[in-house]
């Protein structure tokens, strides 16, 4: 990203102009939709329509409930190994250009994750009960 400098002390980030326009259009579209709909939509409310899930199950209890910590562990393990795969893709694409260096680096990365895997395994993170 380059910033075009005009007068000393002045700068115009013109490269970002499309982003600014995009933000403006997005805001206008969102607000516009809400305003137009509130003008045209019919207003007929009854108890059934005001439930959180219309034509769904009626909610039971508070939405804030405690989950078992196991879910979090599974989620974290998923993120760790998901990131590993995310790294493997670009690595595979440029592998023939970088060669041995990339190979060694990726093996080190996988080795460190492997240590984490062994740790998680031994700590029974993969068993549910």
């Amino acid at each position: 990203m380059r910033i075009i400098t005009g007068m000393p002390g002045q700068y115009i980030p013109s490269d970002y102009l499309p982003i600014l326009i995009f933000m403006m259009i997005a805001t206008a579209f969102g607000l516009g939709t809400l305003v137009v709909c509130s003008i045209f939509r019919p207003r007929r409310t009854y108890a059934e329509k005001l439930t959180p899930y219309e034509s769904g199950n009626p909610p039971i209890g508070e939405p804030r409930m405690r989950f078992s910590v196991k879910f979090y562990i599974i989620a974290m393990l998923f993120v760790v190994f998901d990131v590993e795969v995310v790294f493997l893709y670009p690595w595979a694409v440029v592998f023939d250009k970088i060669g041995l260096f990339a190979y060694v680096e990726m093996m080190l990365f996988i080795f460190i994750l492997l240590v984490g895997y062994i740790y998680a395994w031994k700590k029974d993170a993969f068993t549910w009960d």
Binding site: I3, P8, G9, I98, G99, I112, V115, I118, K122
Partner: protein, 477 residues
């Protein structure tokens, strides 16, 4: 084909990674956690030895093992060793004697080492995150204590916020200069006369906020008292020295190299910051009744003193700041070691009133606490005096005499709350029987800290020479 970068300069970090992983795995088979503590200390000693023999720049300037980083790494490893030594018995009393504790401490120190050596802002960020994430977990390590959980969550939320601000500062800087290389940023700013650019100033401010959070400088200090109070005491000792010193290491590099041509501007931000930090730390510490909380405010105040070395903006100032942080490691961990001694089964020993009459039954511990309190106040012949002396001297030579006068006044105020502990120990009658928990490791840590405080206090020349040599060996990457 990409050539292998030379791995010599990163050898200490590679070793540290290996040891941290090894301890994590060994924890699965070794049932006696004291063995892990011993292995961690040995690992830290090996890494320390490797640090002393390492120099050079690698990964195309992204990583530099120079005199500056070497000195800081020695501070980190020293505080790591001392913190492990004071932990051994303590975490057993707190019923959190798990092996991950030591592994996380090694990872955190690894992050600090990467920060001190970073020649690139992305590497710096990487180091900060590795350090911070490990410390967040350690802060909440007493997982059955609500206070510890609160400390971890607070530290995490605010730390994540500070990291985001740092990233925002880095991205602004990258947008302006097209590089994240610390030296490259400096060259681009001076070549293109960017010094007055408002976006650049915004970036400087974001860096000040992010580093201000890491070193717990007011007004970014709000997390420190709660986190220091809630975290395990041994981790409080570790956190108040290591991450703070790492923050200063990164700060010195970024401000004195990348923002070298903006020195007038950032000094104008840092000077009020330093004054507010000293004021908040020293004045609020007076009203504390919990000693960990009091030392948290004291730690904020000490960040203010060390900040003056950065403000001076000279190699002398940096050398003063570096020796200050080393001295601070000795005296602060020493003081926390005494706090840990007072902790025993069913007795927290965290109230200042628990120190009443300590000298009657435990004269040695009281005498050691006296030395650390004198040193934290800055009374000769302890190291604390020398540390303050060098930092103040550098600030005077840089033309900030009035700032030094302010700092000395606040330093005099600090005598009130440090000396109160001494007064309680020696001039009051004990209100209850205080049993001390001792262990050989804790004794060793106390001996090292006390010796450090006294030897540096009596023969200060060596230390400053060391810091000066480290600076001349290179700090410009």
């Amino acid at each position: 084909m990409v050539e292998f970068p030379p791995l010599g300069p990163v050898m200490p970090e590679i070793l540290m990674t290996g040891f941290a992983l090894l301890i994590l795995v060994l924890d699965l088979v070794i049932k006696r956690k004291e063995t892990l503590a011993f292995l961690s200390v040995a690992a830290a000693a090996v890494v320390m030895y490797a640090v002393l023999g390492t120099s050079g720049v690698t990964f195309s300037g992204m990583f530099a093992a120079d005199g500056y980083s070497m000195f800081f790494k020695l501070i980190f490893l020293l505080s790591l060793i001392l913190s492990i030594l004071i932990s051994v018995k303590y975490i057993a009393i707190e019923r959190v004697n798990y092996g991950e504790y030591y592994s996380l401490m090694l990872f955190s120190t690894l992050g600090m080492m990467i920060m001190a050596s970073a020649g690139d802002l992305i590497v710096l960020y990487l180091g900060i995150e590795l350090m911070a994430l490990s410390t967040y977990v350690l802060a909440g390590f007493i997982r059955h204590a609500v206070k510890s959980n609160e400390a971890a969550v607070k530290y995490f939320l605010l730390g994540a916020f500070a990291s985001a601000l740092l990233l925002y500062g880095i991205s602004l800087l990258y947008g302006l200069t097209g590089t994240t290389d610390i030296k490259g940023v400096a060259a681009y700013i001076s070549d293109n006369g960017l010094a007055g650019n408002p976006a650049l100033m915004l970036s400087v401010i974001l860096f000040v906020v992010a580093f201000g959070f890491k070193i717990a400088a007011a007004p970014f200090h709000m997390w420190a008292p709660d986190v220091y109070e809630g975290a395990p005491t041994s981790i409080t000792a570790f956190m108040s020295v290591g991450p703070k010193a790492a923050g200063f290491a990164a700060m010195g590099r970024v401000f004195l190299i990348a923002f070298a041509s903006l020195q007038v501007q950032w000094a104008a931000i840092l000077i009020p910051l330093a004054i507010v930090t000293m004021a908040v730390g020293n004045i609020i510490a007076i009203s504390q009744t919990n000693i960990k909380r009091m030392l948290a405010y004291s730690s904020i105040a000490h960040a203010g003193y060390a900040l003056m070395g950065v403000i001076a903006g000279t190699p002398e100032g940096l050398a003063g700041m570096m020796s200050y942080l080393l001295i601070y490691a000795f005296m602060n961990i020493g003081a926390f070691a005494i706090i840990i001694m007072l902790r025993s089964e069913g007795f927290s020993g965290e109230n200042i009133s628990d120190y009443e009459g300590l000298s009657k039954k435990h004269p040695v511990s009281a005498a050691l606490m006296l030395i650390f309190m004198f040193s934290l106040t800055g009374i000769p012949p302890t190291a604390g005096f020398i540390g303050k002396f060098y930092v103040f001297m550098a600030a005077v030579n840089a033309g900030y005499t009035w700032l030094v006068v302010v700092a000395v006044i606040f330093s005099a105020i600090s005598a009130f709350f440090y000396m109160r502990i001494v007064m309680y120990m020696y001039m009051k009658e004990p209100r209850r029987e205080v049993e001390l928990t001792t262990s050989p490791a804790l004794g060793l840590a106390l001996a090292i800290s006390a010796l450090g405080v006294l030897v540096i206090g009596v023969f200060p020349g060596r230390l400053l020479d060391l810091a000066r040599i480290a600076i001349t060996l290179g700090w410009g990457l």
